[in-house]
């Protein structure tokens, strides 16, 4: 095993002394970003009267965007392109410096192009978002413990609901493709780095600038709209709404950049011999996910820009009084919103499919079915958006067709179950924590899928739409299935990302706490929804109190489980058992490289001769 020090010792550390890039980091980014923001705010509020609603919105939006741009300027994101424009491209030494070679922990706070650094940055970004969003969930459940009594006021509750929602959605969109898509995936396909390393750094740092913008919503009065931000309520909302809009617009830029980069990497940088039928299934899943995000997110961005224009320039896209319509917003939103569910879900499924063959020591059952399943889901997911609008009154005649496309999704989803079950069949599973995740995934995905069947049915949705039942359903798919997959992936790849094993007892305890608490939490919510409790309510009739208390108890259990997991992740990072090179005995390429992974991953580019699922006693 090579250590970091011996790696560095064997090579000269690049140190382009006079280059500007050696002097820039997140600190300078912060300073420049804040200066840009203050300058913009001061400058604009001198000319625009901020006591006027729409002018105030203009000033706030401009300030938020300038913060983001300022931060990127300050951290040196534009040095490369500018140097290229003026004809003085970065020298080889400077580029090596930007890859962070030999800079220890400080490279995590720089504009670093190494995909492994970006992966770790994403991992901690995701952990931060999950912690923030999870804490808000705890507040929500605390408030709902009682009917009539109020832990927080209605506007704070509404803000909690909306900001919990959007924080978690952002976290889950990047939870798999961020850390594992960046750190593990290039190694998995035998590449030296991503196709566009600088864009990779850009995607992370753009996203990072969105996090403070999102948090600023709290200090601007919160948001009353939920994460769906339906217009015209979002047009009516106070200044906090600008933070929401700016966050999504910035985030959409980040996902577009990341999506192009991952897709290009998988298409062009695969190792010699890795034909499409030999690509590990996680890579397929991650690619399907980001490729689906590329067409999906721009519509979200457009919806946000139009909302921002309605608020700042009184354009009236969504204002029926001047010829607009809220239905337009709903369409734009859900044309993103439904594919987005699969942007989140597919990488989670793919991680489980990657894990199961390793722990039952059998080939993935029907690789083709898995790929067809993913493709089918991705393809159909862009044709179903109006199932969120059955009850909107937009066009009741089209409810039937949308019901048909929606229920067709159960066929490719069925293939996914088949692949996992087929792999389990005849095998003797090794029940390490990642493999436990696979079973939890099956159960949660099954419940999420079946309750989705009720919701996809127009007459049943007439009762269930907008109720707690919907909330429970999508938490089963997004949290129960996708997040469980991602956590399993974290336990699975933790040894390669940190060099240590994740504390086994803690992750075991946290697994059971999370999963059992989860079932209690959402059982209560299914009951509340069936009983007729609307979702997103700060208060409810005392008739619903028992089901809500069940949910709150479950939520606290889940919360404690995640805190233990967080402790394990932090603690094992330095103090965990030293990981062997291939602790699970897997056959994918990432387990063939040592920790720390060398800068260019492989000393000699690997050549692939089969798919990574060649387990089994008796090959025919």
């Amino acid at each position: 095993m090579t250590t970091l020090d011996s790696q560095v010792g064997s090579r000269a550390i690049p140190n382009p002394k006079n280059s500007l890039i050696t002097k820039l980091n997140a600190g300078t980014g912060l300073i420049v970003g804040i200066l840009f923001a203050i300058g913009t705010y001061k400058g604009l509020s001198n000319t625009l009267d901020t006591s006027v609603y729409h002018l105030h919105n203009q000033v706030l939006l401009a300030t938020m965007f300038m913060w983001s741009i300022g931060f990127l300027v300050g951290i040196g994101a534009f040095i490369g392109p500018v140097r290229w424009l003026v004809g003085k491209d970065l020298t080889a030494e400077e580029q090596l410096y930007m890859a962070g070679d030999g800079q220890g922990i400080s490279r995590y706070f720089k504009y670093c192009t190494d995909h492994k650094v970006v992966g770790i940055q994403y991992l901690w970004g995701v952990i931060t978002l999950l912690a923030v969003g999870g804490s808000m969930a705890m507040m929500i459940r605390t408030d709902l413990f009682n009917s009539g009594g109020h832990f927080v006021t209605a506007p704070i509750y509404n803000s909690l609901v909306g900001l919990h929602g959007i924080t978690m959605i952002i976290a889950l969109i990047i939870v798999a493709t961020g850390p594992f898509g960046n750190y593990i995936m290039p190694i998995m396909i035998g590449a030296a780095d991503m196709a566009f390393p600088r864009l990779n750094a850009l995607s992370w740092w753009v996203l990072a600038t969105a996090i403070p913008v999102l948090c600023s919503a709290w200090f601007l009065g919160g948001i009353p709209t939920g994460w769906t931000a339906y217009a015209p309520l979002s047009v009516q909302a106070g200044p906090g709404m600008n933070a929401f809009l700016a966050t999504i617009i910035i985030f959409a830029v980040s996902t577009a950049v990341a999506g192009m980069n991952i897709t290009a990497t998988v298409i062009t940088m695969r190792a010699k011999g890795m034909s499409w039928n030999r690509v590990p299934i996680f890579v397929i899943g991650a690619t399907v996910s980001v490729a689906l995000a590329i067409p999906a997110f721009p519509t979200f961005m457009v919806a946000m820009i139009q909302t921002a224009m309605d608020r700042s320039f009184m354009t009236g896209f969504f204002d029926a009084n001047v010829g607009g319509t809220g239905w337009l917003y709903a369409h734009l939103f859900w044309i993103m919103g439904h594919p987005e569910v699969y942007v989140i879900l597919v990488p989670g499924v793919a991680i489980i499919m990657e894990i199961v063959p390793v722990f039952v020591r059998k080939p993935l059952f029907s690789y083709t079915a898995a790929v067809v399943g993913f493709a089918g889901i991705a393809g159909l997911s862009v044709l179903v958006w109006a199932h969120h609008m059955y009850m909107s009154g937009w066009m009741p005649m089209l409810n039937g067709p949308f019901m048909v496309t929606t229920e067709m999704i159960s066929v490719p989803t069925g293939l996914i179950f088949l692949v996992i079950l087929g792999t389990l069949w005849n095998g003797k599973p090794w029940l390490k924590v990642p493999m436990l995740g696979a079973y939890a995934f099956l159960w949660n995905m099954l419940i999420g899928g079946i309750t989705g069947l009720y919701l996809s049915d127009v007459p049943a949705d007439q009762y269930l739409h907008g109720s707690m039942y919907v909330t429970a359903h999508f938490h089963y798919t997004l949290m129960g299935a996708a997040l469980t997959g991602a956590v399993a992936g974290l336990v699975y790849w933790y040894p390669k990302m940190t060099g240590h094993m994740l504390n086994e007892r803690a992750s075991y305890v946290s697994f059971w706490l999370i999963q059992i608490g989860f079932q209690i939490l959402y059982l209560g919510m299914f009951i509340a929804g069936s009983e007729g409790q609307p979702r997103r309510v700060a208060d409810y009739a005392s008739e619903f109190i028992n089901s809500n208390r069940i949910s709150t108890v479950g939520a606290y259990t889940v919360g404690i489980g995640f805190i233990i997991l967080l402790w394990a992740v932090v603690h094992s990072w330095r103090h965990g058992k030293i990981a062997p090179m291939n602790p699970w005995g897997a056959k994918t390429l990432e387990w063939t490289v040592p920790y720390p992974v060398p800068l260019t991953n492989f000393d000699t580019p690997p050549v692939v001769t089969s798919d990574p699922y060649g387990y089994g006693r008796s090959a025919k």
């Binding site: 609603y53 705890m138 009539g148 009516q236 106070g238 009739a541 603690h571 330095r574 965990g576 030293i578």
Partner: protein, 244 residues
């Protein structure tokens, strides 16, 4: 590379400590949010009166309450109403009212505001008062035209088995420059008009938690005029606690 040199005891201690720390962070945030949720101006208690009143053959104790609805105006200040946070229009002195159960409540509202049109003309009706009417400067009205209203005081709650339903909605006549009733404003119509005195009575039932809000769109500049003051807690909305 450093071998794990932590004993099991130390590890367990650090785990417990970290868990406790995380929980206390979450609890701390919760407590802070909870503090922010306290009633900005405390509670406003109805004053109980000595005599009783007979309504439909049943004796009720009496209690009364005085509120104002005002922007940050000089006249309102002179009458003892002071602004809370900014110059948004608001009900005062507090938005959280505490009323005794099974009582005849007489509410007096001093309204200092002008007005335009209701979004939903339905709320021009007087609903839920004992007489079915509201007394405005001595005259009884059972409804007001949708375009003669400055605000409404609309009390409602979540229907549930553990508390009695309570619904009261009263429109407040707007102040105008050529007001027939005689509150002719002197000099500056915004700061110096006297406003209307609006009185109505309703019966509380059993104990319960309710809310009230204004149904007149006074969140100027915003969509449907229901943003700003209308959507900010503690301006044109609040709670009503009926105590046994």
């Amino acid at each position: 590379m450093a071998k794990s040199n932590m004993t099991a005891g130390k590890r367990a201690a650090s785990a417990i400590l970290a868990t406790a720390l995380s929980i206390s962070v979450v609890v701390g945030v919760g407590v802070t949010l909870n503090k922010f949720s306290a009633d900005p101006n405390g509670k406003l208690f109805a004053t109980k009166e000595a005599d009783t009143i007979n309504v439909d053959g049943k004796e009720y104790p009496k209690a009364s309450l005085t509120m104002g609805v005002y922007a940050d105006t000089e006249q309102a200040h002179a009458d003892g109403f002071t602004g809370m946070k900014n110059d948004w229009v608001q009900y005062g002195p507090s938005n959280h009212l505490v009323l005794p159960a099974n009582t005849y409540i007489t509410m007096t509202i001093h309204g200092y505001d002008g007005g335009e049109e209701l979004n939903n003309p339905f709320f021009g009706k007087v609903m839920g008062t004992v007489s079915g009417t509201v007394n405005i400067d001595g005259v009884e009205y059972d409804s007001l035209p949708y375009n003669k209203i400055q605000h409404t005081w609309t009390l409602h709650g979540i229907p549930q088995s553990t508390q009695d339903p309570l619904f009261v909605s009263v429109p407040l006549l707007r102040v105008e420059e050529d007001d027939e009733i005689g509150w002719v404003p002197t000099e500056d119509p915004i700061t110096n008009f006297k406003g209307h005195t609006i009185t109505f009575s309703f019966l509380t039932k059993g104990a319960g938690e309710y809310v009230w809000n204004c149904e007149f769109p006074c969140g100027d500049d915003t969509y449907a005029k229901f943003g700003a003051a209308m959507s900010g807690y503690g301006y044109m909305s609040g709670k009503v606690t009926v105590t046994a």
